[in-house]
């Protein structure tokens, strides 16, 4: 753990914040500029092979992506990066971690974040005929409204 934190601190020009709430849990916030480059260096450096999942969070003006990597299947390192809601775009990491394919596709469906370079940004989860531009997990959609849309109310 200590060693891991030290190695992460080596990336201080990319990292905004490191938190360590309990054993085997690390949260790292990084800058959006050069995110892909940073991630690819980190993946090589720490040999991060297992991506547990990606979480998307709607923060209002911005959206945050949390990449939950599992270091040696043991320490869960969550790497957070923010994207503006007006232009939610981030490069895909499927070239680095092929297992990210459905996680990115799912977030695109539900939060409308574009993963540039992803092999298939088509729908994965939403039903056929779901109106374009309606992203259910965004905060502006209430459950009542989503129910109305799901029943065909557009």
């Amino acid at each position: 753990m200590e060693d891991l934190i030290k190695r992460l601190e080596g990336y201080k020009e990319d990292i905004v914040e490191i938190k360590r709430p309990k054993e085997r849990r690390i949260f790292v916030r990084v800058k959006a500029d050069g995110f892909k480059k940073f991630l690819s260096r980190l993946i090589d450096d720490l040999e991060l092979r297992h991506l547990s999942t990606i979480t998307g969070v709607d923060l209002g003006q911005e959206m945050e992506l949390l990449y939950h990597f599992s270091y040696k299947y043991s320490v869960e390192i969550s790497i957070g990066v923010k994207v503006p809601k007006s232009a939610p775009k981030v490069p895909t990491i499927t070239d680095l971690i092929p297992g990210a394919i459905f996680y990115e596709q799912e977030i695109h469906d539900l939060l409308g974040i574009e993963f540039e370079g992803h092999p298939n940004m088509g729908p994965l989860i939403l039903p056929e005929g779901w109106p374009e531009g309606v992203y259910p997990l965004r905060k502006e959609y209430t459950v009542q409204e989503l129910n109305r849309i799901a029943r065909g109310g557009g």
Partner: protein, 371 residues
Amino acid sequence: MSYGSTIKVPFGPQHPALKEPEYFLFEVDGDIVVKVTPRIGYVHRGVEKAFEQETYLHNLYLAERICGICSHAHTTCYTQTVEGLIPLEVPPRAVYIRLIMAELERLHSHSLWVGIAAHEAGFDTLFMYLWRDREMIMDLMEEISGNRVTHAINTIGGVRRDITNEQANKIKKFMDRFEGNVKEYMKVLETEQTFLKRTKGVGILKPRDAISLCAVGPTLRASGIKSDVRADDPYLAYGEIPFNVITHDGCDVYARTIVRCEEMIESANIIRYALDHLPEGKIRVPPPRTIAPNESVGRVEAPRGELIHYARSNGTAKPERYKVRAPTLGNLASVCQTLIGAHVADIPMILAGIDPCFSCMDRMTITVKKA
């Protein structure tokens, strides 16, 4: 042989070989699968959005209902995540009771799966034996918790029911019998030609692919990778209990079967050990109603593999965001890879190989399709 051109075969969402609705588009060249495109979401219930609408206590019941088989794994992960947000220390006796239930659940889930694998291979006698044993495990779980499926034993801050000495003895007695039965079934599985022909060399997932496609659970371990959340990231009391992480280097459906069978024997040992070392004391502490802004990640080894929950609190009694990633979604990328190059006739066997739980995998958005 190659036919030079391919045809597209839709598979599901309603299909006799699928126990739950999901859609896969197969591109086949003659009898060989060359491409797979999944389309999931046919059993979506909007769980993640629903989590944001209700209180932490209410959400416990929602988490219980994400899956109909590993409901206890989801509440174990939910309580771990929410207790991490507070943070709250759980009494040791409650920790052990959670663990005993988790292992009983693994037993019933794995015996369900081995039964289904036997059934898919056309060996229904074994299916019947395993499901008979599974029934008895569910009876035990009902005796402890009051419920067969949604056990509702976990609560934030502990468990709702205690295990009595009488119950403990009953469980231990059954574990001895069950272990003997599993060993017997393994002998059958290892020698029965019908089963071997349908599973050996079928659905190969190379270790390299298993790692890069982020496979989890028995699927990953059957490709020779020693990874188990219980051992790698010990939660509950797994750090105090000796057990082996089972792996197999067969990389096929047969290996996945053997891994699950041997895991059942390990689970029986864990349960016996936990019952012998059950700490005394209270079983729950009261949690606060509201939770200050924080975030937390919970990880659990569900019967199907690594289960991960992420929560973010905002100072109210309801979470700001709650994310669930069930093991089946984690295995979707690897199973799509495994299906490429397979015979059409092996599709059900390979799909069954990851022990898919589609209602776990689909949980995400509001798709109330009432027309």
